[in-house]
Symmetry: C2
């Protein structure tokens, strides 16, 4: 049983989560694992940095003067704060497109004040409030720049999605014909690969010199540096992605995915880490990532300590009293095998 | 691996949930199991029908003219609809108490329109919006009727909680000294017992003649009949508890608990069922309960079919398109052992 997290009520375990972990270096060597490092996994929004690479490669970013903060928003599962919505709309505007071209659907944003304002103004949720609106704005801008059909940018055989498939194959090192597809929560194709290949991809994002194609290498570098420079665009206030990258001051690039996935890269050591909680339970993922960083000894005296609120989060009742806690239970297993 | 549910994205498994199931008859015989039927579990709000029994036993229900709908609300994790809030406030008023005596804390109610109304009126959430406000109103009314301190009704050694402990010991058949305590989301003590004992308790609620103490037997009967007569008070619109009891027209009494617990009793056969999803993932519980009912052959041509929306719920993306589904994966194992 590959338990990674116990959830306590008082001093007793109430619930527990299983999980899978892969730690891979830039050369494709699996260094550590837990559970099944080859688990076939939809990495969901953790793939947004890869999905953003064609925006640079195609020249779209230059054509529409995308700033680093814009490019960071293209990699975001943002909270729908005003700064996020304004940038997404701004990118569309520079590409000559309207909000209505966004096909991401919508949902109540994490940023409560933005939602309350909307209700008070008697307005309805629109697609720009979706946490994926930056990614979709980037896809639409790319299709526009390339003179492709904008109405069908979601479809797996659209050039926008085909270019993303090429990037995923190249950077994860996993052959296209073996990649299974599903549909993501925002309507775009989502790819299913072994967890270790996502870890390898993030090792390469952390050390783009490991990417052989020079145009792709530069594009990957530009995307990662945008996220590092503007972590507030990747998530928002009190969001783990934002706080993780802020605390590590450029050392770590990381991105969460739905169904409890996290992928991150250590730019100092050139290693990538990918985690999947088996049941998709969101509360388990941040404590597990923090514990992996601790076991790998990544800046324990500095940045890691700043993230303590995510390490053993308390369980509170509806009056705010602490009635339990979340604790990790795993020990990484050393490995030394190539996944290439 | 005791997997009970697979979550599919397209045709691939994205996440999965483990679980535990106990099916026990009114005499305390374990009939079927899956996973660990003796798993020590906090049943959380699934215990509300037991927590409501002292309201009747003490004469509180008669003293303050609690109607069956009020008593049903005392067993509820309600959605905070106007009908729920009005009844909770009405019970407090008849006991001569104010809303401020409720110590359940508060949270955004499931009933979206009620929350929007509150925001539009510029008001704040108050404790009556908590899904537990009916249970707390019942506890406060009981303390008032008994002349006990109202300010401390949450504490484990308060007579209100001690009477509940007596009921839990008696009806679950599990000795008080072995029961571990935690604090529930609403601040009251919550009990940790083997899953099979919860199933036995619900078998007794289904057939109260199995309860030896005649006062308790009548009180249990009155509580169960209140829930059966007013399932709309136990949950609300589009809530599984409400829809389950409505569909089965008096045959089933059931109550959900936080961290993915469900307890129910079949009043025709006199059996109780208790389910716990190991990771506490809410989406897994209703499909599992429906599948247990199917495997036990409980009214498959009638009520069961009406609940189809809960059996294999689709996973939709933010535009409402179906992109996956939830499917159960378990087969109950026949047993025939006494848990007494």
């Amino acid at each position: 049983m590959n338990a990674v997290v116990n959830v306590y009520r008082g001093e007793q375990v109430e619930s527990s989560h299983l999980g899978h972990i892969a730690v891979v270096d830039q050369h494709g060597t699996l260094l550590y694992s837990y559970g099944d490092p080859q688990r076939l996994t939809f990495a969901r929004s953790s793939m947004k940095p890869l999905q953003a690479i064609p925006i640079v490669e195609t020249g779209t970013a230059d054509r529409y003067q995308l700033e680093p903060a814009d490019l960071s928003l293209c990699c975001a599962s943002h909270s729908g704060e005003p700064r996020h919505r304004q940038r997404a709309l701004g990118m569309l505007e520079r590409a000559g497109q309207l909000e209505a071209t966004l096909q991401c659907g919508t949902h109540v944003p994490r940023h409560e004040d933005s939602y309350k304002e909307l209700i008070l103004a008697g307005k309805q949720l629109t697609p720009v409030y979706s946490n994926c609106s930056g990614k979709h704005a980037g896809m639409i801008a790319t299709a526009t720049h390339m003179g492709e059909d904008v109405a069908t940018y979601l479809l797996p055989d659209h050039p926008v999605q085909q270019r993303i498939m090429d990037v995923v194959e190249d950077i994860t090192g996993y052959p296209k014909e073996k990649i299974q597809l599903g549909t993501d929560g925002c309507g775009v194709p989502v790819h299913r690969l072994p967890l270790a290949n996502y870890a390898w991809a993030f090792a390469k994002l952390a050390k783009p010199e490991a990417i052989s194609n020079p145009v792709r290498r530069d594009a990957a570098k530009r995307v990662v540096e945008a996220m590092i420079a503007h972590p507030e665009m990747v998530g928002g206030e009190n969001r783990y992605c934002t706080d993780l990258m802020t605390a590590y001051k450029g050392r770590i690039v990381g991105k969460a995915g739905a169904e409890s996935v996290y992928c991150l890269g250590d730019r100092e050591r050139g290693i990538g880490i990918a985690v999947k909680i088996e049941d998709g339970g969101a509360r388990a993922i941040n404590p597990v990532v923090n514990e992996v960083l601790r076991q790998l000894g990544i800046d324990l005296d500095g940045a890691w300590k700043e993230l303590h609120a995510y390490t053993n989060p308390p369980i509170t009742n509806m009056s705010g009293t602490v009635v339990g806690r979340i604790e990790t239970t795993f020990q990484l297993k050393p490995e030394n095998v190539s996944i290439c």
